[in-house]
């Protein structure tokens, strides 16, 4: 697999009609959902390529001897305000605002130039004509409208558009900055976790997000398994949190791995804004924003890995950063695992399922078969044993359509889109 093709982020836009993916090669590919078409009933709901562009290039910071990867860490869409679509894409250091617009007409009959673009000799022009608009094949153009650079010393892990649709935050390992979408030469630092003495560094920021409705509220998660909620109204610098979410740990069960596996790799507010979800190495937890002492739900993603932590530490898999997502109604949550498995939890029915994203084990339009990992001695038919799991096939990025039961799952360099069966 070419490294550049590895998908590094997946995101639906607000309507779900567009799906953007970013990859390690710095490219963005946008898919668009096909409109309902009477003559091709099966193509309803299919996603086809709409636009692709190179968002970021590799850079080298000669001053710091730092190589800056072009890998797209996150893409976030802006709510649509006119015919064009806007999204923010970021690598480790620079955030860019891209405008994606359609062009389906072109002007013909210019006075000063020929149809092929050559300039006409003005002295030979004897008559004036009015150019007319003629339809043309749809062209989708992407252009960078803003470049937000030089505000992060450390590596950007998150961006989040505020509900005011004017500002957004960007978070790196130690700091969170607030930007205005129109202003690129200024950014406000709102959280700073850098210790005075770097030898004392014990905790880093792993993810951050704005509240979906309250434009003054944001949360950020840490490598120590905690989440801090900040209210920007209380002070300009949000170093003092308003709420601190941490599940108490049983000290007798503490091990060398405890802190590493408690590190939160993703935090997401529910669409309702009442709950938030955190993903650590082995589980997904749902928290009620009104209760800081412990989560209201804990779902085991792959508990069978607890007895494999030693080898997962040796092959670095224990540091894999899995994302998680809610469905549109917040009744279900989804996250990825290894062996191209991903897990979905129905919060109301208290059921969960393991599915696989792979071409070998599923045919297009066929229902996905639930998968099961066998932990004990006797392996049943169709089960897979823990030792046979392929830890190179990890599903780190998943996305759920905001309104319908359509999901996008990135398995290394492949993108899978699954939908609820429609009869």
């Amino acid at each position: 697999v070419a490294e550049a093709d590895i998908i590094s982020t997946v995101e639906f836009n607000y309507s779900g009609d567009l799906l953007a993916t970013g990859d390690k090669g710095g490219r963005v590919v946008i898919f668009q959902r096909e409109q309902e078409n009477k003559s091709r009933p099966h193509s309803r709901g299919e996603y086809n390529v709409y636009s692709t562009f190179q968002s970021h290039e590799p850079e080298f910071d000669y001053l710091k001897s730092l190589e800056i990867e072009e890998k797209i860490n996150k893409i976030r869409w802006l709510p649509q305000q006119n015919a064009a679509h806007f999204l923010l894409s970021t690598n480790d250091k620079t955030i860019k605002l891209w405008k994606i617009s359609e062009r389906d007409k072109r002007a013909e009959g210019y006075n000063l130039k020929d149809e092929d673009g050559r300039l006409r000799d003005p002295f030979r022009i004897t008559a004036l004509r009015v150019p007319i608009l003629k339809p043309m094949d749809l062209m989708v153009e992407a252009s960078p409208r803003r470049i937000f650079a030089n505000a992060h010393t450390y590596h950007i892990n998150s961006i989040s558009v505020n509900s005011d649709h004017e500002t957004y935050l960007s978070a790196d390992d130690l700091r969170i900055n607030l930007w205005h979408l129109e202003i690129t030469d200024r950014s406000f630092n709102i959280v700073d976790m850098k210790p005075a003495n770097m030898e004392e560094l014990a905790e880093v920021i792993t993810a951050a997000e704005f509240h979906p409705h309250q434009c003054n509220v944001l949360v950020y998660s840490s490598s120590k398994g905690t989440v801090r909620l900040c209210d920007m109204r209380s002070s300009a610098l949000c170093d003092r949190h308003s709420k601190f979410f941490e599940e108490p740990e049983d000290p007798s069960s503490r091990s060398f791995f405890s802190e590493i596996i408690s590190s939160i790799s993703d935090v997401k507010f529910s669409h309702s804004g009442r709950y938030m979800m955190t993903r650590d190495y082995l589980s997904v937890k749902v928290w009620d924003l009104n209760m800081e002492s412990r989560p209201v739900e804990t779902h085991q993603v792959h508990e069978y890995l607890r007895s494999k932590l030693c080898s997962l530490y040796e092959n670095d898999c224990i540091f894999d950063k899995f994302e998680c997502c809610w469905n549109g109604s917040d009744s279900a949550i989804m996250t990825g695992s290894y062996n191209n498995f991903f897990r979905m939890f129905d919060r109301n029915a208290r059921r969960d399922v393991t599915l696989e994203a792979s071409r070998e084990n599923s045919k297009p339009r066929a229902s996905l078969k639930p998968r099961k990992v066998c932990t004990g001695g006797k392996r049943k038919k169709d089960e897979i044993s823990v030792d046979s799991l392929d830890f190179n096939k990890k599903i780190l990025h998943t996305a759920w359509h905001p309104l319908e039961n359509i999901i996008a799952v990135a398995a290394t360099n492949n993108l899978y889109i699954f939908q609820d069966k429609v009869n």
Binding site: S255, E259, N413
Partner: protein
């Protein structure tokens, strides 16, 4: 007095053994410590975190490079070792040596 100490020690040992049996995590920790006895002796958290913050560091010293160029004058700078990761030590790296990854001029396969 001295009779109590061995009792307490064996109770602790027993608990540790129980832990290893009942907690798979502790068993894994024991395995790791057996393979890497020096692990975790330094304040491990900060070492690991600091390494994470320094991701992407490549050793290119423009001062060294320019000094070497000046000294060499007409002579060629020593060529890069076949193993491109050798950019420290006697070898003076040039901007060309550093594995500059070319931008992806190829369209993503997802768009194909």
């Amino acid at each position: 007095m001295s009779a109590e100490v061995p009792e307490a020690a064996s109770a602790e040992e027993q608990k540790e053994m129980e832990d290893k049996v009942t907690s798979p995590e502790k068993a894994e920790e024991a395995k790791l410590k057996a393979r890497y006895p020096h692990l975790g002796q330094k304040p491990g958290g900060s070492d690991f975190l600091r390494k994470r913050l320094q991701k992407g560091q490549k050793y290119f010293d423009s001062g060294d490079y320019n000094m070497a160029k000046a000294k060499m004058k007409n002579k060629q700078l020593p060529a890069a070792a076949p193993d491109k990761t050798e950019v420290t030590g006697d070898h003076i790296p040039t901007p060309q040596d550093l594995p500059q990854r070319k931008p992806s001029l190829v369209t993503s396969k997802l768009a194909g």
